[in-house]
Amino acid sequence: MAEYLIKNGFVFDPVLGIKGDAADIAIKDGKIVETSAVKNPKVIDAAGKTVMAGGVDVHAHVAGPKVNIGRNFRPEDKLFGYKPKNGIERMQGGFSVPTTIRTGYDYARMGYTTVMEAAMPPLYARHTHEEMRDTPILDQGAYPVFGNNWFVLEYLKNHEIENTAAYIAWLLRATKGYAVKVVNPGGTEAWAWGLNCENIHDPVPYFDITPAQIVKGLIEANEYLGLPHSMHIHANNLGTPGNYQTTLDTFKLSEGIKPNSKFGRDQVMHHTHVQFHSYGGEGFNFESKAPEIMDYVNTHDNITIDLGCVTLDETTTMTADGPFEHHLTELNHLKWANADVELETAAGVVPFVYSANNKANAVQWCIGLELALLAKDFTRVFLTTDHPNAGPFIRYPRIMKWLMSEEARKQQFDAFKHKDKVIDATNLAGIDRELDLYEIAQMTRAGPAKSLGLAHMYGGLAPGLEADVAVFDFNPNEPYAPDDIEKAFSNAEHLFKAGVQVVRDHNIASNGNKRTLWVNAKVNENPQVMRDVKEKFLRYYTVTLNNYEVTGHYLPNPYVIEVDATQ
């Protein structure tokens, strides 16, 4: 493989602790190495430019059946957006639900190299892997959903942690999954009866268990196994005014539990798209409770969060939170897709237009940014849009602009129709903080890599890490306009993925060697769980076990992370 030396760039790297000093980064055999270790490198002159590790996204919906329902039922999302094949660059289409090809390329253009699919219905794991396989460049993994799974509900109502852990290990292996995802615990199962779980103690119909028991049990089972990532939750009551109390109650379920993982993470709970979970007030008078939420996050080291920033775009919402999507279609009267996934989960999809003329949407925009600007530790607070729910991922550079520039936020406030009411309901207008690129690198690189238990591969530029390196045409030491930030970080000048140059001079130069990460957790033999699996497949599933497991050819380039939980 070619050797590279990226010379004289302004480096922002939380792993090395470099805060914008000029430094050289060397690449050899797919890894970052000491500069003395390269003999005859190709030299990239990065003088006057910004150099960072490849971005890591902990939470996006980019592959699988509900993403594809979004693509299928929104032809208008693709209208006028096609880009024909050009050289090695394959044809691309779609805006909020882009094709797999565009997904890979657009992340690469932003300097991102690792993206986790945040909700994989186990029964449709094959479909999810097929789409990830077709997404170029990026390393990816997928989180199977567990929070409404009948096995989990039945084991955890009796607090059977060992059985839950054995089932998780089996399902991760069967679906080639990466982490334990929980969406509206209990509420999605309740939705099969037209109901929901409205707080963490609201029992799940017919299962005699509460969301609190599900969440706590899954944290304990996750730590029993010592998985790379923690339990990853989308709590109950997403999007409901006054829900911040449920969010705090959910956070508190992590108290007293210590991480048990040799992968270097410090958290036992990752709470996703917290913007949607930080609302006070009621009805149309909802308001920001970001300060209350961040007071908790800032003082509790065993939690990480991601933002879920609203970007004020037309987008496509999609979640395993079935009752929430029904609520949305009742609200905006746009088309609605709804699916039940047998014993496991459900999903809904609804298009949504976030408008600067709508007070509620403007308040949501403020809350997402407030969460970040009130944070104390940026290695525990990550930049996301819950793509595509609060906005498409291609807006990450625009969010960076808003976080880095008070002037940019002022411009957006001035564009709101109900500016004064929005300011009354939020705190953002009174915050003058401007983040720097080091903090951005913590939120988008080092932090998410550590939370995922992948700090030994991603998120930094230390020798030994994967050679995932981005060069942006942005000089932080020269005067710039807010829009220059968005422009530069939307359009990386160079990007290396595992030592392969995938973007050269702002153009896609290679389709890369994408890998799919999954976790193989070994546990003691558990005849009871295996008997339960066989029985449930015989009695309830529409497919047999043989048609369930994700086998080799779905992952042509797997990267297996081994965990030994036998004892």
Partner: protein
């Protein structure tokens, strides 16, 4: 106003995607520059001049530009797409998407238009002196934003799915229409001077349909309210008023539920 005349000289073997045939694309250009504008056949890019003889010249702005297109255009799509002003005269039949997403100006077709004419139209006027195909003045597939403003007049008949998701503006059909009229509409006005078949106003929550001829089958979601006298745009007579679609949600204004209205002529 300056005039550009296009005369087809080579018929495309397949279909020509000619969204550059607009006063907007032509404005400020000479004949040679207009002939160099691109057209597509499938994924192949060609020049307008490969298929058309171009004469005359454009005005400085779309508003000062008139485009006359001659010859058989039944394999030419997207004439007048997204135009904002000026005039287009088509002296033939034209293929799909005439005046789609049009915002202003006027298109006159002295022949028939195929499907999707006036898709997502926002303003301006389309006059078809022949017949129109399916999905006239409808929303793009999947979209909920149909015709918002402007006027479409068809001298002859129109096909199915007329005015789907219509929100505003007016469509007048001189002859008969096929099934599905104003499906999902939330506003606008459709006048059918001939006969209609069935499924008028399915899931319609606002707007008006006038039918001067027969309706084969009325939607069960429309209820007869009363007989009314109407005089508008040269139409005069007694009409039966139906309201619907009762199976749908309906907005309220000043405490009153708003329904879509369907008027059928019952007498002079």
């Amino acid at each position: 106003m300056e005039t550009v005349t296009l005369t087809i000289k080579n018929q495309p073997e397949l279909y020509l995607e000619a969204d550059n045939i607009t006063p907007d694309a032509f404005a400020g250009k000479k004949a040679e520059e207009i002939a160099a504008l691109h057209v597509y056949i499938g994924r192949e890019q060609h020049q307008l001049g490969d298929f058309f003889e171009v004469s005359g010249g454009a005005g400085a702005t779309p508003e000062e530009t008139k485009v006359v297109v001659n010859g058989d255009l039944s394999r030419v799509k997207y004439i007048g797409m997204k135009m904002t002003g000026g005039e287009v005269v088509v002296n033939s039949n034209a293929d799909m998407y005439v005046g789609a997403w049009m915002q202003g100006g006027k298109i006159t077709v002295n022949g028939n238009v195929d499907a999707f004419a006036g898709t997502g139209m926002k303003g301006g006027e389309i006059v078809v002196n022949g017949n129109a195909g399916n999905y006239l003045g409808a929303a793009y597939r999947g979209d909920w934003r149909g015709m918002a403003d402007g006027k479409i007049t068809v001298a002859g008949n129109a096909g199915s799915d007329l005015g789907t998701f219509m929100n505003g503006g007016e469509i007048v059909i001189g002859g008969d229409v096929d099934v599905h009229v104003a499906t999902h509409a939330e506003g606008g006005k459709i006048v059918i001077k001939g006969n209609a078949k069935s499924r008028l106003g399915g899931q319609m929550v606002g707007g008006e349909i006038y039918v001067l001829g027969n309706i084969d089958v009325m939607m069960p979601g429309f209820a007869y309210r009363e007989d009314v006298d109407i005089e508008m745009d040269g139409i005069k007579g007694r009409f039966a008023l139906y309201e619907g679609d009762l199976g749908e949600r309906h907005r309220k204004r000043k405490g009153q539920l708003i329904y879509a209205k369907l008027y059928q002529q019952i007498g002079a």
